[in-house]
Symmetry: C2
Subunit: 472 residues, 2 copies
């Protein structure tokens, strides 16, 4: 495709996207597709010729669209928001159009230095100290894995440079809670710690937040048994209920025992744009590493996960590689982000952040976050005021955990009821909710925060939930 063909097709696609975003509210939120349905609409064998762009756009409409569950829909309340603000979509398009690849600073000085500046702007916007240096990863899963590997090497005094983890005399231990994102225990397993050495520290049964005293006790017990505590992961805004682990107390326990302290604020980081929310991560500057995903609530198109670290030199010690084919005269004077994580090459992801900050502005993002915080409080209060509905967890952010509990039903019956009325809502295409388990029972997470979700949408949702649940 030459530049003139791109110009013509590009204009068509821009219009197609603008039209799609405009008619989004009329589409079903959850895809009605059955397993295999999308696959069957595509040929089994690869194409031998080419198709005109019009044809491909109509294939997008006919093959892909019916298989889409719409995270950008105003009635999307599933998982967590994964907003793709159109300003950031343009930044991502600029990145693709430029065709840049970061593998060294020299391979694209702008890619590296704009990333440095954007990470520092974002640091300032959430009030982190100047001790932090940032980079952009794909996901918080990768950030968690990088943190755990960095911690592993600090605790083992760089066992990777000798016999590896398999040569250690006493096992390293990882601490988190059962409310941590599944990527944290997964990262511990992938980093080689072993399931026996993952401690799920007790949480407070009403707030679902880590109990720092229980953390201290678990550490003491492991030390007494000859194991070596290596790292604790605190979560600000857990996935099930957006619980807030007490970072300050956890960091104090962690640091006094020489643990690496990682803070997973993938979801809540965006709320830290608001000074009135920063109590939620009080003590964060005492941590060693930190993750915040602008690709969630803030709305930078996926993937854009910020990873901050206090000691980049240690990170480079763990992740560096310096083969001859990437050496250049400027090495040593510049940041080589390749040495901060797993992939050798990187996209120009900073452009999407830059475009969003410059075009939408921080103030409009803050206003939207405040709108969603208020929306969650409204729904919480509406549910609390309604018979047989129960709010199951504190609502510090934008997620409300609810259950409709008709009188006289057993907990098994309530479980079946919950899954059934949620499925009725989802099947209607009018809204999308994802259930989760809490204290051994199913509940419904209403995760507010799609870019276009207004109070009227929440009111419609609450009506829909009530009629689906109360009719059964």
């Amino acid at each position: 495709m030459n530049p003139e063909e791109f110009r013509a097709a590009g204009h068509q696609l821009i219009d197609w996207i603008a039209d799609f975003r405009t008619r989004l509210p009329t589409l079903p939120v959850r895809s009605p597709a059955a397993p295999g349905e999308v696959r069957r609409r595509l040929p089994v064998e690869p194409p031998t010729g080419t198709v005109p762009f019009d044809q491909l756009l109509s294939d997008l409409d006919e093959v892909v669209m019916p298989g889409m569950t719409h995270f950008q829909h105003p009635a999307f309340y599933g998982f967590f928001p994964a907003n793709a603000s159109l300003s950031s979509v343009l930044g991502d398009l600029a990145s693709g159009g430029l065709g840049a690849l970061g593998i060294t600073w020299q391979a694209n000085p702008a890619l590296t230095e704009v990333e440095e500046v954007m990470c520092d702007w974002m640091r300032q916007l959430v009030g982190l100290s100047t001790d932090w240096r940032g980079t952009i990863f794909d996901t918080a899963s990768t950030g968690g894995l990088v943190a755990l590997m960095a911690a592993r090497e600090r605790a083992s005094r760089f066992s990777m440079r000798e016999g590896g983890l398999q040569a250690l005399p006493s096992p390293l231990v990882v601490y988190t809670t059962e409310e941590a994102h599944s990527s944290i225990p997964k990262a511990a397993l992938l980093a080689g710690f072993g399931d026996d050495n993952i401690r799920l520290v007790e949480v407070d049964r009403s707030t679902f937040a880590m109990d720092p005293a229980a953390l201290g006790a678990a550490i003491k017990e492991d030390i007494a048994a000859g194991r070596k505590p290596a790292v604790v992961v605190a979560t600000v805004g857990t996935t099930a209920t957006t619980a807030i682990d007490p970072v300050k107390a956890i960091a104090a326990v962690g640091r006094s025992n020489d643990l690496w302290v990682h803070v997973d604020a993938a979801m809540a980081g965006t709320a830290m744009l608001l000074p009135e929310c920063r109590w939620m991560w009080e003590g964060v500057d005492d941590a060693d590493s930190l993750v915040w995903n602008p690709h969630k609530w803030m709305g930078t198109v996926f993937d854009c996960s910020l990873f901050y670290v206090k000691d980049p030199a240690h990170l480079v010690g763990v992740f560096s590689s310096n083969p001859s084919y990437v050496r250049a005269a400027v090495d040593g004077q510049v940041t080589q982000y390749r040495d901060w994580g797993i992939p050798f090459g990187r996209r120009f992801r900073a452009l999407k952040l830059w475009f969003q900050l410059e075009l939408d502005g921080v103030e409009s993002i803050k206003e939207r976050v405040r709108r969603d915080l208020a929306g969650a409080q409204w729904l919480k209060e509406a549910a609390e005021a309604t018979p047989e509905w129960r709010v199951l967890a504190p609502v510090p952010l934008q997620t409300v955990c609810l259950r409709h509990e008709p009188t006289g039903r057993s907990s098994d019956e309530v479980d079946a009821h919950t899954l059934s009325w949620v499925e009725a809502v989802n099947k209607s295409g009018q809204a999308y909710l994802t259930p989760a388990r809490l204290d051994g029972q199913w509940m419904v997470r209403v995760s507010i925060g799609s870019l276009t979700t207004e109070r009227s949408d929440l009111e419609a949702l609450w009506g829909l939930m009530r009629s689906a649940a109360e009719a059964q």
Copy 2:
């Protein structure tokens, strides 16, 4: 930014990209920016207001462009090609515009199933057996790490589910060569094997390919010493010289010793579109996992790294996580790509492959690959026919390894000479070359394969290299 603002700005940006790609040949290939130069053009503090789109476009021109090294330039011969075909850029734009997020099949059935189909189309296009199942990762570094972790768990009978790597009685060993990409030993270190347990198997001194007999001997020695050989990584198209490890023989040695066999064909995979090139990975169907990066030579905009595996159930055993908040009724009938690798969420990367295959067509891609193979042979022959120039390695693909060796200079003098004339070429902005070390000496890699590099460009390059080198 609302859809109508996006429409207006999007059209401007499409034109900006089309114009950029048109004038690319007039720009310096390597950025002339000094360290810190781009950073200093941006404000230290984040913006408090917003800027109009025109302003942002002119910032792109003034802040970013002078800091770009242009991989899309017809005179780009550095590293390996990282082509961003404009058809695939549109596919990537569609992905951003749709704002899809894959975390479960249900979160976007189309995202999962189009990825399945594209991986299968690509499998067919390079003649792999039907035993392979594929997925898309960000980079071959990630693919290598996933392969090594999968191998680690197979060899240790899932030590991750118990005491982890740190509880193993005998250390696991990884085999590759010094010519493997740096991400392979790095992955071994990150996966916890330890530097002591990485064997760089001898290569043939004229082809730089792994010696399978030396592999067999190294395995035997490790077993005798009580260690457990776990995995061998063969490379088809190494980074320095595009050497071709003999996959068939390596896989035979590997399999007879119960090793996981990983094939890194990140670069050469694209050549396998041509039946006449498939001798290069003869035996590949005997491997356990395989990486091929369409985001290199083939031209799918970064990032798009195909990872194929024979036993997806084993992969899922290592990488699965199934928290309650992502469970759905269809689980078990569908592919959950989350369980095939590290990140929890994924972009709709398959769209860029689909767009490229449908719009550019496989035939035009094959034609371009043949053009580049012939171009490399032309340059090789030109150099061989010229006094004081030496071709240092076989040229099976698109990279020619050269040195200008003026009579009577010591090897140190030749090293200095090489770095000096390459710097003169790069500084001119007329072409970009990256040197590398081979057998302890610097040499020049001419890596052909930018989308727009024609024979006339190669002729101009050869003239430029001769005048830069022979003048010194």
